[in-house]
């Protein structure tokens, strides 16, 4: 495929999913004529009709709830939640229904609903439009929680999510919607990884940066700067936040002996806490320093003019890297 923006790569992924399986349905607020507020569903309703690309009423609990019903009927709904901060009205449907139906029926029922959520900050938005809430869903057994970071992965991860048997919370880092990259043409391409696998995006020897979503680019930037100072940082894109690919993660930390986790979400009880604890359990004797966490501060997301101070940037990452080396 040609170079695509992340947004277009997902759009194309949705198009393929709709073509490949007549049971796939795309639904959400303004996903039809408007093509979604980020244009991720642009043109789909025109081509697949309003029975398969559905503009829904403004009711998130029911977007997820009806998607569950559609899945029980044999459909494969891919829902869009317009912004991260608006998934909470659907929380009960997600954690008590969607996540649990398989276990409640001892495997009899599957509800392969994909919930796409544009996530995170960095776009100068007003409140509730920049939340990073992956920890809530990662803590919920029965969900797969994934986060893409580039167009190639976004496309293929979405297509896999749309074919899997499990419910998937599919995060799209909105600040990267417009970044471009090449997307593999076929599922056979070696770059196409399973949905639950982490990926080393930059090999390095001295310290492992574990990250995902919008922070992958930030960590790569930090690694470039560190390289100039003679530190060789490995950057791992977690991709799957639940389950975690601890094999890939611990292989890296066992090699480097130092680890910093970076995400946009507040650190307290965030995903970095899990990664830190799990890595420490597995790499205890290899660690030269504790796993350090860099995240959004433990405040509500601040006003747009302050988000650059709130969100981790290369400097904050490197500050933690320095601390890890100084331990």
């Amino acid at each position: 495929m040609p170079e695509l923006t992340l947004s277009k790569a997902i759009n194309t992924g949705l198009r393929r999913a709709l073509e490949d399986d007549p049971k796939v349905i795309v639904m959400g607020q303004d996903v039809g004529g408007l093509g979604g507020v980020f244009r991720v569903t642009d043109g789909l309703q025109k081509d697949f009709g309003s029975d398969r690309v559905i503009d829904t009423p403004l009711a998130e609990a029911s977007i997820v709830g009806t998607a569950i019903g559609l899945a029980l009927r044999g459909y494969r709904p891919i829902c869009e939640i317009q912004f991260d901060g608006f998934v909470y009205p659907a929380f009960s449907q997600i954690v008590s229904q969607l996540a649990k139906l398989r276990a409640r029926t001892n495997g009899l029922l599957s509800v392969p609903v994909v919930i796409r959520i544009p996530v995170g900050g960095g776009i100068g938005a007003v409140e509730h439009h920049s939340e990073s809430n992956e920890a809530y869903f990662a803590h919920t057994a029965g969900l797969r929680v994934v986060c893409c970071s580039d167009p190639h992965d976004a496309h293929w991860m979405l297509r896999m999510a749309a074919r899997g048997a499990d419910p998937v919370i599919f995060y799209e880092p909105k600040r990267r919607y417009w970044s471009k990259a090449d997307v593999a043409e076929s599922a056979d391409d070696a770059r196409v990884l399973p949905l639950d696998r982490a990926r080393v995006v930059r090999p390095g020897r001295d310290l492992t940066l574990l990250t995902y979503g919008g922070m992958v680019a930030t960590c790569l930037e930090a690694a470039e700067i560190a390289a100039e100072e003679g530190r060789d940082l490995e950057v791992v894109d977690l991709r799957s936040l639940s389950p975690l690919d601890l094999d890939t993660i611990t292989a890296s930390v066992d090699r480097t002996g130092r680890c910093v986790v970076v995400h946009e979400a507040p650190t307290f009880a965030g995903l970095g806490a899990e990664v830190g604890s799990a890595v420490t359990e597995r790499c205890f004797y290899r660690l030269e320093a504790p796993v350090l966490r860099v995240g959004g501060y433990n405040t509500p997301y601040p006003p747009a003019k302050v988000e650059d101070q709130y969100l981790p940037d290369a400097d904050r990452v490197l500050d933690a890297v320095d601390r890890a080396f100084a331990w």
Binding site: G74, S92, Q97, R104, D166, P243, L246
Partner: protein
Amino acid sequence: MEPVQLLSPDGTFTPDPAWPLEVTPQLCRDFYRRMVLARRFDDEALALQRQGELGLWLQSRGQEAAQVGSILALRDTDYVFPSYREQAAALCRGLTPAELLVQWRGNALSGWDPARYRFHIYTLVLAAQLPHATGYAMGVQRDGTDEIVAVYFGDGASSEGEANEAFNWAAAAGVPLLFFCQNNHWAISTPTHIQMRAPLHQRARGFGLDAHVVDGNDVLAVHAVTRAVAEQIRAGGGPALIEAVTYRMAGHSTSDDPTRYRTASELDSWQARDPIARLESLMVAQGWIDEELRAQIARESDALAEETRRVCREFGPVDMTGMFSAVLAQQSPLLAEERRRHEALVVSYAD
């Protein structure tokens, strides 16, 4: 709006041209038999709970007419989403006592294969099944079949946001869905006037649903109304709501003590409107019930009761192992590890 009633509390039948129903001896015997069986099953389950064989039981006593009359008005192929008190309806769909008890025994999180009975598992989070039913009906609509979908819920559940979202969504989308509310006057200790100011059927019409209210202790009225409304939905008339006015003659559950919040006289007045006795009065007056039928139903009831006790005693032990592999389609490494550790612990205890 007065509830549709065809059979008065004393058992007098008055036809209503708006809700035609051919009241045959056969029809009444069938309803009667099913209601009696449902109540016997309910009594038996209650006794089992009191004996410590079940962790909890929620009785349907008093609501048999609402459930039997309505579910028998649907086709077997119509998919049904129950709430958690629909034993009488479930038995009509052929669910077994074992399937109905296992969850309350504490051996499983749900009891049966919904596909087999076209009867979904119980939903304990109030109103959560209403959006599911709406979505399922969207699927039916897309499939272009002539199935309809029905969803049961209570007066209390109607206060939840998700219930109202579903009323609105279903109406806007025009899906083939029947909302069936058993207004049994109570949500645990909370009476309906605390839940709502206007009756639910009025609210439903406000959403643009076709809506009706029926005497829920009158199995003939429930059946006539549900049948007509179901066929209208099937014919493409859009979603509808039926409010069946009934009464929860037992406590909310076996953990509840209803004497703390309701009077004996209220209960008495509803005992006088018992749905089974009411139909029986009609059958007696018409000569549609004789000793043979009574004896036959008594035998069936005894057999059901015995099966109920037996299956309850026969439930085997359960363990965690199944859970680990039922969380995701493909077991995660973390769960595999937890399972290994769990099994090792079990072995170490055995030692």
